[in-house]
């Protein structure tokens, strides 16, 4: 955005906030917001300033229904006249500029304990802007990326403060010799060399032999190391977990009195009531080490696959297909199986199948997923909350391997003009996921390598999800009419070999952010190239494997 554009946008935002947007200004503003993510983000930043200031200085409280007051039989006079707000500023408060919520007072006693705990996570903690000395350093990183998009730099010192890891796996070592293996997405605070706080995500703590004493606070639990290796995790609702891999820890609830020692193989969870309870340990709950890599291999993360399947064989169904996520009518002889690298191969895998007839492309998958069907991600990030993506070319004239790519699709160089393969609307990405909020299957289509003309839940498709009985995976089954793939007049037929690529995404426990990925059905020549990065294969059609359409029996 040019400085001129930025100034204009700011002026429009000012007018919007003041409620003084003229009709002409409104058209200008809307056009900018419709066409530019950068403009939307800048506008949202401006609104965040306005909203944040309004919050900071709001003087009025809000009334809840009388019913809430009778919940807790606490006389108002017995309560403090003011209790801390959720997000106090570090600056000095002006008297009277921020009165507390009136409706909250009768409830204050009941929630004081919870509130006190919440204070632990407030943002006026020592942060990276302080001048404190770094006591931790990044020892290793696999695709590590901070929340603001910066790459995690190996060797970089980390100052005390809150850190948010958006992507990848990062190993941090403190001056006490403690190793923290942080798996994205995670938000944590480094307080000192022997003390940290985890607000969200997964961290494995490992102390050097003969040492102990590292303390990790979670929203509902304090875990003290007694010479050990342990994993801690925090879900969005504050649910806190610890699992011991070696040695012992002491776990104490921060909400109710009591604590206990946990030994190797033991795991405890503190849910909404704050009580510590035992639960089964799961070996795949935490990533404890970086995956082994081959020379020159670029893995997308710790939860990642090594592709070995060249082609998916697609046959017509022998009996009519019922879309109910029960795959009993599918011929499994054409299924392929792919899994993440050990030790996650038992828990994170896909068994994929495809079929076709004159009207539909059918896709089914059984996905091993310890956090199945939790996807609450939206819009273009819907894949990150857990998804299966199948990318197909249905234009036999494009052949195999496909020559198109995202880079070529947007090329403005005369010597490298966009190829038909790059722009074809018969090259389609089918993004299938289960919406946890509506409890319904959903599908989004993107066309060509520009991913243009995206459509969410267009009419005509059918899809179903079913959770595994043991809650450790799910099955999906879709029927997609060829018309949605722009091939209703010339659908694939027996003997065709065209490009296809499968991708599976696993989410965090909250179903929002991508925790791991599998890429399968790939071109063996592409994946064996030195430096090949399968995580980027979706951008390059030449790396896709083959979809082989078989005759009916």
């Amino acid at each position: 955005m040019s400085p001129l554009d930025a100034d204009e946008l700011r002026a429009l935002a000012d007018a919007y906030v003041a409620g003084e947007l003229s009709p002409e200004q409104r058209v200008t503003l809307e056009n900018r917001l419709r066409t530019s993510v950068e403009a939307r983000l800048s506008f949202l930043a401006f609104l965040e300033v306005h909203a944040g200031l309004a919050w900071e200085y709001r003087g009025a409280g809000v009334e809840l229904p009388e019913a809430t007051r009778s919940l807790f039989l606490v006389p108002d006079s017995s309560l403090p006249s003011e209790i801390p707000n959720e997000a106090p500023s570090t600056r000095n408060q002006q008297p009277g500029t921020r009165k507390f919520l009136r409706w909250a007072l009768p409830l204050a006693a009941a929630v004081m304990v919870l509130f006190g705990i919440a204070q632990m996570w407030l943002p006026n903690r020592p942060s990276a802007v302080s001048s404190a000395t770094a006591f931790a350093v990044v020892k290793a990183s696999l695709h590590g990326q901070w929340a603001d998009g910066r790459e995690v730099v190996v060797g970089a010192p980390l100052l005390p403060g809150v850190w948010e890891l958006q992507n990848g796996l990062v190993e941090i070592e403190t001056t006490s010799g403690t190793t923290l293996m942080v798996e994205a997405p995670a938000r944590f605070e480094l307080v000192n060399a022997l003390y940290g706080r985890l607000m969200a995500g997964n961290v494995v703590v490992r102390m050097p032999e003969g040492k102990s004493g590292f303390v990790m606070d979670l929203p509902q639990m304090r875990v003290t190391d007694l010479g050990t290796e342990f994993g801690v995790s925090v879900a969005l609702n504050g649910e806190s977990r610890v699992q011991v891999f070696d040695g012992k820890v002491r776990a104490e609830s921060l909400m109710v009195p009591g604590g206990r020692e946990l030994a190797v193989g033991e795991s405890a969870v503190s849910k909404a009531d704050g009580v510590l309870s035992s639960e089964k340990s799961l070996k795949d709950r935490f990533v404890r080490q970086f995956p082994p890599t081959l020379p020159g291999e670029h893995l997308g993360g710790a939860l990642y696959s090594r592709s070995a399947v060249d082609a998916v064989r697609i046959a017509p169904p022998a009996v009519p297909v019922v879309i109910d996520a029960d795959l009993s009518e599918w011929n499994r002889s054409n299924a392929f199986r792919s899994a993440c690298l050990p030790p996650y191969d038992d828990s994170h895998f896909v068994e994929g199948m495809m079929m076709y007839d004159a009207q539909h492309l059918y896709i089914s998958a059984h996905v091993g997923d310890p956090e199945p069907m939790r996807n609450v991600a939206r819009d273009i990030m819907d894949f990150a909350g857990g998804s299966v993506i199948v990318r197909v070319s249905t234009d036999r004239n494009l052949g195999w391997p496909l020559k198109g790519s995202a880079e070529n699709a947007t090329s403005k160089k005369a010597a490298n003009p966009p190829l038909p393969d790059s722009l074809s609307d018969r090259v389609v990405s089918i993004i299938m996921s289960h919406d946890a909020q509506s409890n319904e299957a959903r599908m989004r289509l993107q066309y060509g390598f520009k991913h243009s003309n995206a459509e969410s839940n267009p009419p005509g498709w059918r899809g179903a999800f079913r959770k595994d009985a043991d809650g450790r995976g799910y099955t999906l089954e879709y029927a997609i009419p060829w018309s949605l793939l722009n091939s209703e007049n010339d659908p694939p037929r027996a003997g065709d070999e065209m490009a296809a690529l499968w991708m599976v995404h696993w989410s965090d426990a909250d179903g929002r952010l991508c925790r791991g990925q599998l890429v399968e059905v790939t071109n063996p020549q592409a994946r064996s190239k030195p430096g090949a990065a399968p995580a980027t294969f979706f951008r390059d059609g030449s790396t896709w494997g083959r979809a082989i359409y078989l005759p009916g029996r």
């Binding site: 306005h50 709001r58 943002p123 909404a272 609450v376």
Partner: protein, 178 residues
């Protein structure tokens, strides 16, 4: 979990997310008094529908903001009948903004955190202008206290908001609070 415990938990969630819900509302309805009214209605609706909240289906803030969004839609409909919604953005633009906001949820929180840091870096005079304008009912009402005309005060406020806008983006971009 007993009903009382469940209600306690719900209130705790409401308190913890009150700030987010308010900021969400102000994003859609910049007029603070309207946003306050909508916050009150949203809290009542959330409380009345608390049994419908399923923690397993998603985070509280998302659920609460969806309900707040419905309140805003109703508000806009009422405003439209009064022909008073000339500053209101089109539905598709609002949806686009919300999608961007949702996709960058962490960034919004970082900006909010950075705002406290950036406020501290304002001069005492600049901070007092912010306090006058946002602590009172309106700029017009605040102007006499500040010894300025409303127009002059508004210009200073615009300048200070611009400084804060730049500061929060720069702070987060440089990882200052990350």
């Amino acid at each position: 979990m007993s009903s009382l415990e469940s209600d306690e938990r719900f209130v705790a969630l409401l308190l913890a997310n009150h700030n987010r819900i308010f900021r969400f509302l102000v994003t859609l309805v910049p007029c603070r008094s309207d946003a306050e009214d909508l916050l009150q209605q949203t809290c009542v609706t959330l409380w009345q529908g608390r049994e419908k909240f399923d923690p397993a289906a998603g985070e509280f803030a998302s659920w609460a903001c969806a309900i707040a969004h419905n309140q805003v839609r109703n508000f806009w409909r009422r405003e439209a009948t009064r022909n008073a919604a000339h500053s209101q953005l089109s539905e598709d633009v609002v949806e686009s903004l919300l999608a961007t906001r949702s996709a960058h949820g962490s960034l919004m929180e970082e900006w909010h955190r950075a705002l406290a840091y950036c406020l501290e870096r304002l001069s005492p005079h600049q901070r007092s202008v912010v306090e006058e304008c946002y602590g009172g009912a309106s700029i017009k009402a605040a102007a006499p206290n500040a010894g300025r005309t409303p127009n002059a005060l508004y210009k200073v406020l615009r300048h200070v908001r611009g400084l804060l806008h730049d500061c929060i983006q720069k702070t987060v971009k440089e990882g200052g609070l990350a």
